[in-house]
Amino acid sequence: MNKKKEPLLYAQGLKKTYTTGTVKTEVLKGADVEIHAGEFVTIMGHSGSGKSTLMHILGFLDAPDEGKYVFEGKDTSKFDDDQLAEIRNKKIGFVFQSFNLLPRTSALDNVRLPMIYAGVPEKEQIIKATKALESVGLGHRLNNLSNELSGGEQQRVAVARALVNNPSLILADEPTGNLDSASTKEMMKVFDELNKKGHTLVIVTHEDNVASHAHRTIEIHDGVCKRS
């Protein structure tokens, strides 16, 4: 890895505290992260350690209370809602544990959604969505409604959706958490291929066999990140 190259993103001293009633939960206590373009990184840590919280911050779905987050050389703290929406749309592909597909909507239309928000012309949307679905091995399921697909297939649709706008970073929060081992294997094959094609991947997981696919693992413990 070329250490002199600018990282895709780096964060320093990220803090996040949740307040429920009078109870304050300090989840991140000054976490530092650095991800380079082309990396395949997993984030691990016990339940409640703040993995999702960190992913949400890295994916611009949430903002840290304190700390610096620089993405593609830009300090992100001053971004307004519209800029954040654009980054989420063009630079980030997010895969959720619970798939989060639109119900009663075809696989193709689900994958088109980020392109719709990006203002891609309709014909191009269909071509790109088809390609993305083919690349995750779902070329034969284009017009199936999301609820007609198996869990593994649904998650692959979600991956196709995440990569279709060709983002700089794909974030996946326990993407195999709801999948059986066969589907997990297939899922990981997809991720490996994406990484080989140059996509930067950050995946949260509890499973060592998932983590074994990555270049390195970031361990969250006691609100800070450790390289393991």
């Binding site: 779905l61 809602d81 929406a85 989420r88 959720f96 989060n100 639109l102 119900p103 909507t105 990006a118």
Partner: protein
């Protein structure tokens, strides 16, 4: 170009959003349908009623002025009881109308008297209204038509000819299916020859024209009632634009002829009403009624609107995770807001169209039903009912969609995604 694309995008998103939530969409649409149908019905009914009353007045002649007897220095309500109690005003004469006819803007007139008498033909008898009116009546009253035979002439009136024209009901009562023309009936022991049968006309206000017997004015005055005054008359105008001036001219001439102070209407023993004025008054009343009913419809629509808002709000709540997902995929606040607003508008627009159709069907059925009952309201769905109905649908869509849409747009992506 950008705007057009965005509109299409938002519309597509809205349609997709509605399709994925079909059940709730249907329910909301139903609420709108009922509200809009009510508006269409109320507006059409108001119009129909107004038109109905107008037509009734118009049948007396929309371009006429009525001159009728009045008790001097007595209020309208007291006068009714005075007349019921047997008070008589005998000062209004046929000669007054002859004089009025000479006014420059007066074209023609008819004057009338009324009485209740028993008519007899063979072994059948019937008490009904005798309407003594001069021959010009047939020219002036547009809804008076002869079905059979003829109406009497001016000359027959002047010579007090004992001829009658029968309304259809009284004809049936006395003659049944038998031909009546040329036959003689007795009214109050006096023989009259039947020369014509009127076309059925039905009720106009309190008058049932079909049970009426028409006879020349002078015949009625001299041979039945023994009087030389009249109850009322109508004058027709040359130029209806000068109605108000003519009313003044009539008042002046009449007060001169009756030796009354010209400027004190209270002291008059007659009353002058232009039908135009009457139409205006009734127009105001029906307008007021329409407003009232509209207000009621408005309230019910408001309740419906709150229902729409509720359902839209529920929809936002239920779809919180979906909104979070859309935001995570790059939807801006504006696009989210526009989508939910568009959904609300699409719902109300569909509901609006369906409501207009439903309302129109009900109006048509009501009209047919009324016609079967003998009331020709001529109730039709007016263009403004459709326009107002559709416009209120859209306005309600925007008004009550705005708040939930804003709520949706303001959701933070991570909160929305974590929402259970």
């Amino acid at each position: 170009m950008i705007l057009k694309d965005e509109l299409k995008l938002v519309f597509d998103l809205a349609v997709q959003g509605l399709k994925t939530n079909k059940g709730r969409t249907g329910l909301t649409v139903l609420g709108v349908v009922i509200g809009i149908a009510t508006i269409v019905i109320v507006l059409s009914a108001g119009r129909g009623l107004e038109q109905f009353v107008f037509d009734q007045i118009d049948s007396f002649g929309g371009d006429t002025i009525e001159v009728e007897i009045k008790i001097p220095n007595v209020s309208d309500t007291e006068m009714v009881s005075a007349f019921v109690g047997g008070a008589e005003v005998t000062t209004l004469k046929l000669e007054d109308f002859e004089a009025l006819k000479k006014l420059p803007n007066v074209d023609n007139y008819y004057a009338g008297v009324l009485g209740q008498f028993k008519s007899v033909y063979k072994n059948k008898s019937k008490t009904s209204t005798i309407f003594g009116v001069n021959a010009a009546f047939i020219d002036i009253d547009r809804d008076m038509k002869i079905a059979e035979g003829r109406f009497y002439t001016e000359r027959e009136d002047k010579s007090q000819a004992r001829v009658v024209v029968l309304g259809t009901e009284i004809k049936d009562d006395l003659f049944g299916n038998e031909n009546a023309i040329g036959k003689t009936i007795k009214i109050n022991q006096v023989s009259f020859k039947v020369i014509g049968i009127a076309e059925p006309r039905g009720n106009v206000f309190y008058f049932n024209f079909d049970e009426m017997i028409y006879t020349p004015l002078r015949t009625a005055q001299k041979q039945l009632l023994g009087i030389d005054h009249v109850l009322y008359g109508f004058v027709t105008l040359v130029d209806t634009d000068k109605t108000d001036e003519t009313v003044q001219d009539i008042n002046l001439l009449m007060s001169q002829r009756h030796d009354l102070p010209p400027n004190d209407i209270n002291k008059y023993d007659f009353r002058t009403t232009s039908m135009k004025e009457a139409q205006e008054i009734i127009g105001t009343i029906t307008f007021g009624m329409t407003l009232l009913v509209l207000a009621i419809a408005g309230i019910s629509l408001l309740v419906g609107g709150v229902g729409i808002m509720n359902i839209m709000y529920l929809s936002v709540m239920e779809r919180t995770r979906e909104i979070g997902l859309r935001k995570s995929l790059g939807a801006t606040n504006r696009v989210i807001k526009a989508q939910f607003l568009a959904e609300s508008i699409v719902i109300t627009a569909i509901g609006g169209v369906a409501g207009i159709v439903l309302g129109s069907i009900i109006v048509l059925l009501f009209d047919i039903g009324a016609k079967l009952q003998g009331f020709d309201f001529g109730m039709t769905v007016t263009l403004d009912a459709i326009v107002v109905g559709f416009a209120s649908a859209i306005i309600f869509g925007i008004l009550f969609g705005l708040y939930p849409a804003r709520k949706a747009a303001e959701l933070k992506p991570v909160d929305a995604l974590r929402f259970e």
